[in-house]
Symmetry: C2
Subunit: 471 residues, 2 copies
């Protein structure tokens, strides 16, 4: 259905060249980095300012047309797929770095700024923005905020939401709100900033972001531990944390991932290993040395056949880059790569790894696992072919078992990828009916007609409730 | 109005001795630590379990009676005053320390646990729960969560909400939800944990709290800088932060506060000083020494007439205890002490201090100022007599000017005390009409009859909207 009036009005609002309605253009915006979801938008709009975003949202609201905000669409849960058609609103033109406040240690950016660009800008001044999702080189701050992106430094430093202290957002009716600011403490009413973070574009469209920064740590060291036994690696993680060592990064790779990464990146990973741990610590030199030595000792006690401490920063960077290549490396193996992010409390890692291996074996699937072991945030990654319907059913069944195991171990269905379309049927497993009802009530209250990113987060079976406001 | 049926039903639900309806008992629950608000509840209930809380809330919901959750009522914004009567629900009997998880570094407590007790329990195991509101010795974790309490270590470590990772709460209809858990990363839907934190008991009654813990820092050092000029002290704070030094604590006391504290606590503070900075740093020994030395050098450069670095931990503790005594010390001076918490970005401290002094002079009031300077979180404290109506009007006018100045400087109306009854008329200054409308919509969606802690946060003038749900 093409609404030529709407397209004309959008052209008036943002300029002709920033409204795309040819099929070839719309096809580009029909998917994101999740393999299983695709849907064609009716039209794509690229506004350049908050005012233009407001104009687009108001036009959509007048006509009851869905609006799906989108950054670089690197998300892995179908969050930016226009499941119910409508307008895809790309924020990529809003990519100005607005301010680096050296006195308050904050940065303010538009949502289209690439995360790695923010890193470069602040690190050049001796400052530090810790969140670094795997997609850091291409993903945008706006997308990171919408998904509450995690990454490799979550263990010590937390995730995107831990650094967002102020937002500007456009609401479903086109109104603009400003939440938080540059204040370290601010309790003026409900925490709308954190409500918007991770709301996957379903409550508002974020148009400006203020993040707090830290001083850049003075030193950094990377270590690699090699195991012939998966569970020894997982136990090492548990013991490091329980030993009160909080590394910046503590990553895990299983045999399948190691082989794929080595074939892809040729960094000299030991392809005969069953598991690797990659550990990074940063901070004052003395503490880094102490922590890395203590963690290495634990790894050896737990049975690591080799522990290598990076001799130079470059060697460390090379190892971390190899870990970052895991998804790309695995994606080369078979036509479809399904990367999940079941997450458990750190003390349940061994059990979770066993559950993943069991599910893969039972359903005759190749599932490689890597991830942020220190966070309990694993990425079981199924190498499959979505065109094979019989195999696709086994994949579905295996992941259901994996999510159920995560919940039973006190974990969650998604640690950092979001619910989107991929996990909405599992949401109630984590939250229970009362939890889903509260979230639905919030969605209904702020977006009663479900125009912002419809179909995301909430199970399809949830009946929409009609909210009538009076007075 | 006494509803004897309700009282009987409450007695059945929680046991006779835990339902108080005599006037003498109800009077005890008519106020909190804010001087200007008082209201008698109809009945006071002290449930012992989540199930009993649910039963009380259901009885209240059936009858349309307000429920006001309450811990130790140390809050400073009228948040626990039963402004519209009804049931005061004390959570003080739910004070069990449920679990210290040494593997995942979390603690789980009931809301009635005293914050200092949590500190003692976890520090005995070499762990650390950083939030430490001024009221730490008497306030409860439940109250800290409801108000998103800050404290003296916010600069480096953040506030209560930064440590809460899981909650159990009873909703206005008596349903129970469980949010978050022990997972470091969890993005399954909206962040209900952080929505409940700081919601001042208006969205749900928190019945169980899981907080994450850090390893206890190995070392700690306290330093004191003495100034003959207020602005030199404020500039020192700005320069320390801009110099990339993030102390655990960076407190400010003006002359009036110094005099009051010294008269109260006799710790040897220099009563001829115009201002003091009290700095504490913790962490690895080398870093603590470096940071304290660097900060001390900045203080001297900015004109401190004396900088003393605590020689022993006991000396440090004594100085910090003196700072903690500031409110008690000031409260002895005149019949009424009004402690506010206007907060600005750290780089605006000098301007904010000038605005406070200007307002005090213009309205002929005694306003002493101390607070968490490193957070931009100041506590201008008016020493007055609420029985003097003419003076009370001047106090009101002065604080209006102070809040307006905070907003104009990019600050907020409350950094850590909450909105409650005290600041509800100023909420829109910070949030704008659209921000207040979003918060009101959330309140209406989750508590359509405004039964949980009614009258708090939202301006009296906000018309209640009737929400009718269908389907």
């Amino acid at each position: 259905m093409k609404d030529t009036q709407l397209v004309e009005a959008l052209r008036d609002a943002v300029g002709s060249q920033w409204v795309l309605d040819a099929e070839v253009d719309r096809t580009v915006y029909a998917y994101d980095a999740s393999p299983r979801h695709r849907a064609l938008p009716d039209v794509v709009v690229l506004p350049a300012s908050t005012g233009e975003v407001q104009a687009v949202v108001r036009l959509a609201a007048e006509r009851g047309v869905p609006v799906v905000p989108r950054g670089q669409a690197t998300n892995l849960s179908g969050g930016t797929v226009p499941a119910e058609g409508g307008i895809v609103l790309s924020l990529n033109r809003m990519n100005r770095f607005l301010e680096l406040d050296r006195e308050n240690l904050t940065a303010t950016v538009e949502p289209g700024v690439i995360t790695a660009e923010l890193h470069r800008r602040v690190e050049a001044e001796g400052l530090f923005y810790p969140p670094d999702p795997g997609s850091v080189a291409v993903s945008t701050l706006g997308g990171n905020v919408a998904e509450n992106a995690g990454g490799l430094r979550g263990l010590k430093y937390g995730v995107t939401g831990d650094y967002v202290i102020g937002l500007e957002a456009v609401l479903p009716d086109g109104d603009r709100i400003v939440t938080g600011g540059k204040n370290v403490k601010d309790v003026a009413g409900y925490d709308l900033t954190q409500l918007l973070v991770g709301s996957e574009g379903t409550l508002g469209i974020v148009t400006r972001i203020t993040v707090r920064l830290l001083p850049l740590p003075a030193h950094r060291q990377v270590a690699l531990a090699v195991y012939h036994d998966l569970e020894q690696a997982a136990r090492s993680v548990e013991r490091i944390i329980a030993g009160r060592i909080i590394p910046a990064t503590l990553e895990f790779l299983d045999r399948g991932t190691i082989e794929a990464v080595e074939a892809f990146a040729h960094v000299g990973l030991p392809t005969d290993a069953e598991a690797l741990l990659l550990l990074a610590q940063d901070g004052p030199e003395e503490q880094v040395a102490r922590d890395v030595a203590a963690a290495a000792a634990i790894c050896r006690e737990e049975g690591a056949v080799r522990v290598e401490v990076g001799r130079t920063p470059e060697e460390g960077d090379r190892l971390m880059a190899a870990r970052r290549a895991a998804l790309s490396a695995l994606a080369r193996m078979r036509p479809t790569t399904i990367l999940e992010d079941a997450t458990v409390p750190r003390s349940r890692l061994v059990e979770m790894l066993r559950a993943i291996q069991g599910a893969a074996a039972r359903h005759r699937l190749t599932i490689c696992t890597f991830g942020h072991a220190g966070d309990g945030n694993l990425h079981p990654t199924c190498l499959t072919d979505e065109r094979d319907e019989e195999e696709a059913e086994r994949v579905e069944a295996a992941f259901e078992e994996i999510f159920r195991a995560a919940i039973e171990l006190g974990g969650t269905i998604t640690g950092e990828h979001g619910v989107g379309l991929s996990k909405r049927e599992y949401l109630e497993w984590k939250l229970g009916p009362a939890g889903v009802a509260v979230m639905t009530a919030i969605k209904d209250a702020l977006d009663p007609r479900h125009l912002l990113n419809p179909g995301k987060i909430f199970p399809r079976s949830t009946p929409r409730r009609l909210v009538v406001r009076q007075g």
